[in-house]
């Protein structure tokens, strides 16, 4: 199995001279099984660049796993050109929104509305299928097994574990580990903490031992104190989770949109310096980076 980053930026695309190295496109990761089956994790603006690459491979069968429906993870869908070409089959997977009760199809329908996009969703030429995913309910994509788990974010967000060819990876989508909303003196504090710990253990069990963990780590620890509850993780929280789950490689992604290449380089150097004895490889996700597991 191998994977390639086509978008690593959080929130909004950030093209320009300051993001040439790590890239300015929003989340999109291409995963290929050994049999060359195509799984795409999220369809941020990076999906548009990926689509250009895929044009030489028609007819195409693609499985797109959407972690959640915030713009930076779906904005590339209407620009995913294989959807406009007959004989392609696109399978889109995602969680059902709890507030509207609607499935993942809505992410596409809304973007293709008259006011927002010139081509109605009915004009897609490929065969497009939609599938709900459920917490802990595994499903197969060709020979790959996918395990979804709900992760804390300000909208329903699924992390996905992919097991295939004896290898595994886990992608969180956007994720902030839930913090305790109570103060230690509140009677609810302890019980809430138990719930947090229980939930974290469930996540660690699912991630346990993966070859690659790709995780939302938008903030430094200092920044995080000001951004608690925004739904994104910190570099340190990512390293802690990776250590606990005994992963083999850790990829920090969802780079904060105002972060320049130079700033990311400094952060990376500091992380390596502060954690000299990690049992896993530590990397910053970078657009164009391909990893063979």
């Amino acid at each position: 199995m191998k994977f390639k980053f086509w978008g690593v930026r959080g929130s909004i695309a950030t093209p320009g001279p300051k993001t040439l190295k790590y890239g300015g496109n929003t989340t999109c990761i291409e995963v290929r099984t050994d049999d060359n089956n195509l799984i795409i994790l999220d369809a941020g603006t990076g999906a548009h660049i990926l689509a250009q690459d895929l044009l030489a491979q028609m007819p195409l069968k693609a499985h797109i796993l959407i972690t959640h429906t915030h713009w930076d993870h779906i904005q590339g869908l209407p620009f995913f050109t294989p959807m406009y070409i007959p004989n392609n089959a696109i399978h889109i997977y995602g969680g059902r929104d709890m507030v509207t009760g609607q499935g993942i199809k809505r992410a596409l329908d809304v973007q293709h509305q008259y006011s927002f996009f010139p081509i109605p969703v009915g004009h897609l030429k490929a065969e497009v299928h939609y599938q709900d995913v459920n917490e802990g309910v595994k499903f197969k994509i060709a020979e790959a097994t996918i395990t979804p788990i709900t992760l804390n974010h300000p909208v329903i967000n699924f992390g996905y574990r992919i097991d295939c060819d004896g290898q595994s990876l886990f992608f969180t989508g956007d994720y902030e580990q839930q913090y305790n909303i109570y103060s230690p003196e509140d009677t609810e504090y302890e019980g809430f903490q138990e719930s947090i710990d229980e939930r974290l253990s469930t996540l660690v069990d699912i991630i346990q031992g993966v070859d690659a963990l790709i995780i939302d780590s938008s903030f430094t620890s200092e920044e995080y104190t000001q951004k608690k509850g925004w739904g994104h993780g910190s570099y340190e929280a990512a390293i802690e989770l990776a250590t606990r789950a005994q992963v083999k490689q850790l990829y920090l992604t969802h780079h904060e949109p105002t972060r320049s290449d130079a700033e990311l380089d400094v952060i990376y150097a500091e992380l390596l310096e502060n954690h000299p004895n990690l049992d896993f490889e530590l990397h910053l996700a970078q657009e164009g980076l391909e990893v063979l597991l």
Binding site: R96, M98, E135, H153, V155, I156, I181, E188, G191, F192
Partner: protein, 280 residues
């Protein structure tokens, strides 16, 4: 006698608004970006309608959660506060529950009784060594045990009033008369809804059996909490009959209802906690 259909109940509850105070609080708190998360959770957990509607969504077959969720706090840890907040808003915008006040039943007093039962049920669970994480499930069981009554009062008020009237006049347990006049007791309605919405089976069974001899710890805590709330005259459930604690419960707690009230700090202290929950 006339009877009501399950479908009528289900249809009504789908569009049922929540209690005025919590609707106003949710609208106020969610319009303020700086409002505290714990305050929002407390408001939701102080309203049976809001709570039940959120638990209904999270436990629905659409999401197929491996472990059923029976408290808002645990729901929050799984799906995050923003989704909980928006679910609460979607309930709040339905409108507010119209007050129902007759000689025998009053929505404000009903809410007070539900919250008193919730608080006492949770306290008894903790007293019996239930972990803090699970004691919030006991709170919810107390909050929702009489949910069927508020459905009767709001949707089938005439028949419910006949049952209430006869219950007071003949000093007969309201459950029996609900079955006679409405075809189902409030406990059966609560159970039916809980099963229909795929809430945890333990919770559904506790609601169904809260007037029967308890068979498990949740049952014992809920039965005792309900009777203690009535005996202490905190709010009013609409049922004039107060049942003594079964001998099995007294043995389990190693205490009578009076002992338990004393342990909880006495009636004024329990009342004050309930008032605090209502006022949040």
């Amino acid at each position: 006698m006339s009877t009501i259909s399950e479908q009528e109940i289900i249809d009504y509850v789908e569009a049922m608004p929540a209690f005025p105070k919590s609707v106003n609080k949710v609208i106020h708190l969610t319009s303020d970006m700086d409002s505290s998360v714990k305050e929002i959770v407390t408001v939701i957990e102080s309203d049976p309608v809001m709570t039940v509607k959120i638990l209904k969504v999270i436990n629905s077959a659409f999401y197929n959660l491996q472990t059923k969720v029976s408290s808002i706090q645990r729901a929050l840890v799984i799906i995050g506060i923003n989704t909980i907040k928006n679910l609460a808003i979607s309930v709040a915008i339905i409108g507010i529950l119209k007050p129902y006040r007759t000689k025998y039943f009053d929505t404000d007093l009903f809410l007070e009784h539900s919250l008193a039962t919730a608080f006492i049920c949770k306290s008894l669970a903790e007293r019996q060594g239930v972990s803090s994480m699970h004691s919030s499930d006991y709170f919810i069981a107390g909050l929702l045990h009489d949910f069927g009554k508020i459905v009767f009062a709001e949707r089938f008020s005439e028949l419910f009033n006949l049952a209430l009237e006869k219950s007071y006049q003949t000093e007969t347990d309201l459950n029996i008369l609900e079955k006679e006049y409405l075809g189902m007791s409030h406990a059966q309605v609560g159970y039916m809804l809980a099963i229909k919405w795929e809430l945890p089976v333990d919770l559904a069974k506790a609601i169904e059996g809260h007037h029967q001899l308890p068979t498990d710890l949740l049952g014992h805590c809920l039965f005792a909490a309900n009777q203690i709330a009535k005996q202490s005259k905190i709010g009013a459930s609409g049922n004039p009959i107060i049942n003594p604690l079964p001998i099995e419960s007294i043995e389990l707690f190693g205490a009578t209802a009076e002992d338990l009230i004393e342990e909880l700090g006495g009636i004024p202290a329990i009342k004050a906690t309930v008032q605090h929950l209502i006022g949040v």
